[in-house]
């Protein structure tokens, strides 16, 4: 139905957002082709904060990414990825831990292995020791060599087969062309990412991630919006999803806790690899090789989410903030996303006030953001209100009345515009690499079909009755109200009409 309506150009775009999921030795592998000049590789692990046994362990594990492994030290990882021109990053979500590498697609004709005489004076030795190397599927290999002579020189070169051969003559005869240059870098980065998963060392002296953890926590503590969202999750879900993304201010976790957690989550069933700009077959092959000896056991379980709701307030710095929201249980639905889009007061045209009823009634200096956080078995939707103390009560009341109005029924026109906004938000998220990976991550572990078309077509099914039914159910549940700032003067939930 959807395919029949698109134009030829849209077909191409839709096809680009379609990812086939292949299961290779227990690990799910998805490859997306989005026509960008860079490739990326993301390893998603079901090790988000909802699975952590102790507060702050998931954050600590994320900060430990790319430190020493059996194959490379932390310095080696950073320098090698530097040399190959890649960017490594790790991020933590409530459900997944993501380790990513981004690199150029085809940095072909990389480097050539040169004889020492060609390099000029100083390279005297005849003995070249290959220190580390990768062998590609076609038998050619890339290695880093060190000279035993007076001058330390490393060559990154291409050679034919036999990787650890110190015989330089063989290197001079080597072939220097790779049939498919883009595969070279993906080999390297698959190796870097997967070696952290399979053989991280967690050395005691590298537990200097402790300052990184406390930096994360301090940055979050200074931001009242983040504080409000974290507290809202704690109040709404009480366990599992309630765990904060950040470690507590005085964490009581040690190296052993991190090692135990890593052993529990780094198993094959818990891992998915998403590549953009890499061929599916090649990626599957690399993943197979990397995870050949990995542990295989069922990952950590999290009890199914229940929504509770409630009210709470904490001291905070910065603008007075209130979060007014409601949670739903079950897989995220297009109706709730449409509700979030309907409530969203941000204007589509810059510098205008927008057509949202909230925007019209907001007092000066107040700002309201719509919040929509879908998870695999629950969602949290609501409004984040920030205003000076005097105006917060009024701004909060405006937000609450907009929420109630949505439940009582909205016009066809408003519904259509809300659906359009929600659809656009979903589609434009898939434009960026991070959005693609997030969209895939949401579905890859549950085994559902991954395509942008299916996501968008879900919005087409939202009509007035479905919308008002979903909104009414939402409003019937106990709301979650969180206030951050000057706790004496912040309004209470019943003062706002909740």
């Amino acid at each position: 139905m959807f395919a029949a309506r698109v134009s030829a150009r849209n077909v191409q775009r839709a096809a680009r957002s379609f990812a086939t999921v292949v299961e290779s030795s227990g690990v799910k592998v998805a490859a997306v082709e989005n026509g960008a000049p860079t490739s990326s590789l993301t390893v998603l692990v079901k090790a988000g904060s909802r699975y952590e046994p102790k507060e702050g362990v998931a954050n600590a594990l994320k900060n430990f990414a790319f430190k020493s492994t059996a194959k490379r030290t932390a310095l080696g990882t950073v320098r090698e990825s530097d040399l190959y021109g890649g960017v490594l990053s790790s991020s933590l979500g409530r459900e997944h831990l993501a380790l990513s590498a981004e690199f150029l697609k085809g940095d072909d004709r990389l480097r050539e292995c040169r004889a020492p005489q060609e390099l000029g004076a100083g390279c005297q030795s005849d003995v070249w020791i290959a220190e580390s190397s990768f062998t590609l599927s076609d038998g050619s290999c890339i290695s880093i060599h060190r000279s035993m002579g007076a001058r330390q020189v490393a060559l990154i070169g291409l050679g034919a087969s036999s990787q650890n051969d110190g015989d330089l003559r063989k290197w001079r005869r080597a072939t220097l062309r790779l049939p498919n240059p883009r595969l070279l870098l993906s080999d390297v980065f698959v190796d870097i990412l997967t070696s952290f998963i399979t053989s991280a060392k967690f050395t005691r002296h590298e537990f200097y991630v402790a300052p990184l953890i406390s930096n994360d926590t301090a940055a979050a503590a200074a931001n009242p919006a983040i504080q409000a969202i974290e507290l809202a999750h704690a109040i709404a879900f009480r366990q599992g999803l309630a765990s904060s993304l950040y470690a507590p201010a005085h964490p009581s976790i040690g190296l052993k806790d991190i090692q135990d957690y890593a052993a529990k989550v780094f198993t094959k069933e818990n891992i998915a690899v998403v590549g953009t700009g890499i061929e599916q077959s090649k990626l599957t092959e690399l993943v197979n090789k990397a995870f050949a000896n990995a542990a295989s056991s069922s990952g950590p379980t999290s009890s199914s989410t229940r929504y509770f709701g409630g009210e709470n307030r904490i001291e905070g710095t910065g603008p007075q903030t209130a979060f007014i929201g409601i949670g739903t249980m079950g897989a995220p639905s297009a109706e709730v996303a449409t509700l979030a889009a309907y409530l969203n007061p941000s204007p589509s045209v810059k510098w205008s006030k927008g057509t949202s009823p909230i925007a019209a009634a907001l007092p000066e200096g107040a700002s309201v953001q719509s919040v929509y956080l879908p998870y695999s078995d629950a969602s949290l939707v609501g409004l984040l209100v920030q205003a000076p103390t005097a105006a917060l009560k009024e701004a909060g009341s405006v937000a609450v009345s907009a929420l109630k109005k949505a439940a009582s029924g909205i016009s066809q026109e408003e519904l259509a515009s809300a659906v359009a906004r929600a659809k656009f938000a979903a589609a434009s998220a898939a434009d960026a690499r991070a959005g693609v990976v997030e969209a895939i991550g949401a579905k890859i572990f549950s085994g559902s079909e991954i395509s942008l078309a299916s996501t968008l077509s879900a919005f087409d099914a939202v009509d007035a009755s479905a919308f008002s039914k979903a909104a009414a159910e939402l409003v019937k549940a106990k709301p979650t109200y969180v206030a951050v700032g000057d706790i004496v003067s912040l309004p209470y939930a019943d003062e706002l009409g909740l």
Binding site: T73, L83, R111, E112, C113, E131, R204
Partner: protein, 127 residues
């Protein structure tokens, strides 16, 4: 052959079964004759620490190991004042005489070498 701190034939001996069989009793006799165990020391307490490498390795000991090391030093200083070994029941046994610091030193030496390697790398790019 080149150990972390000095030239050493120990790896050569340890890798060869015949050599080990003959050299080990000699080595044990030598360790006893050196009499550091009679003052409550472990061998690694006596490694020369006045250089940056060993200082870095010392930073990797656990708090317990650091405390015990300081205690052994203090106890041996007292024995030196008294010009006599410590009581026999407190002597270090051969089983306790574990090289707790040398692995850290070896790692630090390796890491230093790796850093030098990466700092002096010459990347030869074609075109």
């Amino acid at each position: 052959m080149f150990g972390p701190l000095s030239i050493s034939l120990a790896p050569l001996v340890q890798n060869s079964k015949a050599l080990s069989k003959w050299v080990t009793p000699l080595a044990n006799w030598y360790a006893d004759a050196a009499r550091y165990r009679q003052y409550g020391f472990k061998y690694d307490d006596l490694v020369m620490e006045e250089n940056p490498t060993v200082q870095r390795a010392l930073g990797r000991l656990t708090p317990r190991e650091t405390y015990d090391r300081a205690f052994r030093m203090k106890r041996a200083s007292q024995a030196s004042v008294l010009h006599a070994p410590i009581p026999k029941d407190q002597w270090t046994t051969p089983a306790e005489d574990v090289r707790y610091l040398t692995p850290h030193i070896a790692n630090v030496v390796e890491e230093n070498a790796e850093r030098v390697k990466w700092d002096t790398v010459i990347v030869v790019k074609k075109n």
